[in-house]
Point group: C2
Chain length 382, copies 2
């Protein structure tokens, strides 16, 4: 098998259009040429985040943008409620702890969503809590948390809702301003169909008001300085120019498809994958609140999931993600976000069926694919 | 004029080979495929930095790597001697101040190099100073500081020499281990011929010993965590994959040319530009210690340098850099670093002559070019 298919929840495939745009000769960033491009990028990002605020572009991975949220919005000693339902919830805990915040941890079983009443109770018990840190989609467990409902709680209080939307923004409808999300973050290598290297972050007016009062030291991730510069269509430090050029092209593609269609496509591919899983009697990792970004499936008990994953990657050249920590070897994760179409999902299911059969699982070849086809067909125009 | 020539001291032109390497389909970073590539990148970086230590790859601009040096090597309250002879010296001051260090500032006239005795005296006066922060090449003033001689002073003391080598590494011979530089930094968009988005940093053994004792909070720029991961040919957070692929190709090109030849080429282009300047009676910004990365020239008093710069950029499509702060409008800076050849320098001088004539300066067209040709010809094999 000579063709590789990347079906991991980031990095995701980069369309040829975007790769070729990035392959143009380099140009300087302190020029009208860059500023004109960047102005259009900023407009596109506001549409993507569904906000009237500035979406700041950082030369960093998504983790850098998460750090930026923490060091700009919270002071040492601040209490913050952290939803920890996976690897990226853990990352919030580590960031909060590193920068001297006092995290109030809500532990959520991996694969489950936090319940809104858990967060409301934590805030009642800690009325001075300055923020709630959560994932819009917990990539490690393939579960989504109820952001709209959480925002309904936090916006009535002096509490910022900080959402790691790294596998949520551009995946499902997450209207920042309408819902009242205070900080929304994503990274370039997910729904945005770009290589990694850009962190994106937007703050609400009340989050900006907080930033001014937070004495935490910050320089590279000083969002106030970035905001001042980016308002003038430039950046505080040298931007990752080629990725910004790619971002311009990717945002154009998303606008051409239409954001609602992008969301519907992700939902459809996820539904088709879940239909295949049901037909193959594979259990979902997040049965109650599965993410449209990525579907997690338990592999049959008799099979070592790490070997299945490696076989798929090295022999079939179909790259899923495996499980992390206590899910390592027990699950595979099949991504839907980014530049993905119906037949990528068909391929994913077919490859999974073949690999399961290879490892001795009694699988009727084509059964899962048939279920996925039926689901995909139902969405086609008549 | 339809062809653009980028002659700024970063970003520099990206060779087609590198751009096409980066345009290949995305692949995942937690794979043997990436690790094999990254292992070769790490080897190439050690050769480039002339060190046996790990050169860590960060998804950030060069400023991010400068911040990493500060927050990993120095604790709040630490005294550090900072050589401030330009915009990037100022950046050290700002970083040191932001993170609670006590900078002892040595102000150097723009265009001059710090004198070694100034630094030695500052260290004698502040025997507890933990570090000396300096530029290997101060891009804003086109001057180089005497790194080898500074290292001879610092390595006899318990003082780390931290060198921003953003326009020095890969430009001129700066053997980190042999000279005894403790921290050496560069960015991708300079001699490395890549787009911006990677910060690179290496630490000496004694710098690493210091890191362990420094309580400064750090997460995204936690070099200890990066070192542990990168020793295993992976990264702590998602790397800027496409730029790492480009880095692999750029390092291959530099190895093919030979590092000594790369240094000689930069020196030759700089010498040719200075010869042209002399022939045109244009004053150098850094007459005593000009950088081989970039040559700064005062424009004639009667000419507004900003207009000259804009005319070159917008009408001739030859992009130099202008001056910053009090040099704004008074100088142009012509770069030599990165993917630059003899005829790029010829073009630079020709464009400058034409622009000077356009603005009414009495210039003999071809005079500067002739001087540059003579200099370049002298280096050609007989």
């Amino acid at each position: 098998m000579i063709k590789q298919l990347l079906l991991a929840p980031g990095p995701t495939p980069v369309p040829a259009r975007v790769r070729l745009a990035m392959a143009q000769p380099m140009f300087h960033h302190r020029t009208p040429q860059f500023s004109a491009l960047f102005a259009e990028v900023r407009d596109g990002l506001r549409q993507l985040f569904q906000t009237e605020e500035d979406v700041l572009v950082l030369a960093s991975s998504g983790t850098g943008a998460m750090e930026a949220a923490v060091v700009n919005c919270f002071a040492p000693g601040d209490e913050v409620v952290v939803v920890n339902g996976g690897k990226f919830g853990e990352r919030w805990i580590k960031l909060a702890t590193t920068f001297g915040l006092t995290p109030i941890e809500i532990r959520v079983e991996w694969g489950r969503a936090v319940r809104v009443d858990q967060v409301a109770e934590a805030l009642d018990a800690h009325p001075r809590a300055r923020g709630v840190l959560v994932q819009g989609s917990e990539t490690s467990t393939t579960a989504v948390h109820p952001i709209e409902q959480l925002a309904a709680v936090t916006r009535r209080r002096d509490t910022l809702l900080v959402v790691d939307g790294i596998t949520a923004v551009g995946v499902y409808d997450l209207p920042m301003d309408r819902w009242g999300v205070d900080v929304l973050i994503t990274g370039s290598q997910k729904a945005l169909m770009l290589p990694p290297g850009l962190g994106l972050i937007a703050l609400s007016q009340r989050a900006w008001a907080r930033v001014e009062k937070v004495p935490q030291p910050r320089y590279y991730f000083d969002l106030t300085r970035e905001r001042t510069n980016q308002a003038k269509n430039t950046t505080a430090y040298t931007p990752a120019i080629s990725l910004v050029i790619g971002l311009h092209e990717a945002l154009t593609m998303m606008r051409e498809e239409g954001l609602a269609n992008v969301f519907a496509r992700h939902a459809r591919l996820a539904a088709a994958t879940r239909a295949a899983a049901a037909a193959l009697e594979l259990r979902l990792v997040a049965p109650d609140n599965p993410s449209p970004a990525v579907t997690g499936l338990y592999v049959p008990d008799a099979i070592d999931g790490s070997k299945l994953f490696a076989y798929l990657r090295d022999k079939m050249r179909v790259v899923f993600a495996g499980g992390q920590d206590h899910l390592k070897g027990k699950i595979v994760r099949i991504a839907h976000l980014g530049y993905m179409g119906a037949f990528d999902t068909i391929t994913a299911v077919a490859a999974l069926e073949m690999a399961l059969r290879h490892f001795g699982h009694a699988v009727e070849l084509g059964r899962g694919v048939g279920a996925a086809e039926a689901e995909l067909l139902s969405a086609l125009p008549g």
